[in-house]
Amino acid sequence: MELSSLSLTDAQASLRAKEVSPAELLRALDARIARVDPQIHGYLSRDLDAALACAEKADVSLPLGGLPIAIKDVINVRGEPCTAASKILQGYRANYDATVIRKLRAAGAIPFGRCNLDEFAMGSSTENSAFGHTRNPWDTTRIPGGSSGGSAAVVAADEAFAALGSDTGGSIRQPAALCGIVGLKPTYGRVSRFGLIAFASSLDQIGPFTKTVRDAGLVLNAIAGRDPQDSTSLDEPVPDHTALLGRDLKGLRLGMPREYFIAGLDPQVDAAVRAAVRHYESLGAEIVEVSLPNTEHAVGVYYIIATAEASANLARFDGVRYGHRAADATGLLDHYGRTREEGFGPEVKRRIILGTYVLSSGYYDAFYLRAQKVRTLIRRDFSAAFEKVDAIICPTSPEVAFKAGDRSDDPLKMYLADIFTIATNLAGIPGMSIPCGFASVEGRPLPIGLQLLGKPFQEAQLLQIAHAYEQSTDWHKARPTLA
């Protein structure tokens, strides 16, 4: 077995047993990346020397001591690029650590490698990167999902033991599902966003991609908690997220939302998720049908609120303090207009314009304020459901990975790929995706994700529920075959 194919937990055991050193782990990953990443393009850059310098000082007794973790290229790591996969940040070098990086370092982890994404985390396929598409390790003609497609693909392809991503409308869970790994979006306020390049500030959360459920708990333990530098991070106690793993599910109630089992759902996804529901019943959980009646409005609400916030957040890219600057501007408006024209890609431009429009004079009440009110209804749907059940069980994505290029010119169709993940962010609740089977498409297996949604700050219970399924099935052990 190659070192690079270890889970985070097993890599940690090897380090602590002194079977392998942190530097050897890094070199094994680096060799794996050199061999398979030309097919995947999950990484935009990596700095082995900087990581090896950290490895020399690593204390393997720490919670994540000596373990390399790949980082979505939208989270600042001191001394490294942070491009957001955008030309407007080409050449930028971070001179501070995001809070999640500071916390990972304090737990002994080593940030290693910058993962590709849709530009500014806007997209569902990682085709919007200004620096080339990432490909799905299960079928390199297909997309890995997005926007954290690089983070998902490198974990699935054994080019990383774990990775950090960000999730604004499904950007952790959907690529985790399409790449056949575990992805966790924590509760809004659970993890500090200080040092994350902001997309939609009322929705963004940082979370882990891992090969196992336990690994996701280990990473969450390290990054969770209140941070004075992010006023939206909440002062909730941080439990050990691995403490409930292994407990049985007797007495737990899982809700199946009828609005998530709809026409248009891929029949193979539908069958796999229903089989997972029956499996949970056999594990002792009680299955209850619930209703989230405002589900159909979630995509519309999201594309108003997320674009409005993005148009404000991306105003900072003005060609003055960092990033691209247009040459020979004839005046201030020409400077702004051309800097941003040259720096941003098409999807980012579309969203800036949509967001500017819904906030503009005369349209604010009709679009933005109305969307915020419907958001309240969506939150209430979840609150009502969680009075009856402990967690919600549903598909992560209505489909498996689609072919690269299939939707790049149909933004609305692309937006509908997030139909099952978006409401979670609007409600601010935690959600995760775990592998629950494979669809057979053109004779190839393509992963299917099972989505579990929990009550605010109940990630530990969500992980318990996910772990019980994982440990009694074999889906998470399957790996793509790469040359």
Partner: protein
């Protein structure tokens, strides 16, 4: 409402120059998206308070105390143009 949507004017508000091709393309694509989101008009939101943040917290204060943070060199390290410890900006006042 989407009938009145004007990409050219909105792009000016966003300080974003677009090519003629982009204007034509975005006008069509975004009109389609706006028609989709206009379905929200059918939702009864009478008496419903808006949600700005999923877990709203208000008035988060900290001590107004000096602390170590970016030096001028740090702040200017990524500036496309700087001189004498200052950002160089285009002329604003004619």
């Amino acid at each position: 409402m989407s009938a009145q949507f004007d990409v050219r004017y909105t792009a000016q508000l966003a300080r974003l120059h677009l090519s003629e091709d982009e204007i034509v393309k975005f006008q069509a694509q975004l009109s389609q998206i706006l028609t989709y989101v206009e379905k929200l008009e059918q939702v009864d939101v009478t008496g419903i308070e808006p949600t700005a943040h999923a877990n709203a917290v208000f008035n988060v204060f900290r001590e107004d105390a000096p602390r170590d943070w970016f030096t001028a060199e740090d702040a200017l390290a990524n500036a496309p143009r700087s001189a004498n410890q200052l950002f160089i900006v285009p002329k604003v006042i004619e």
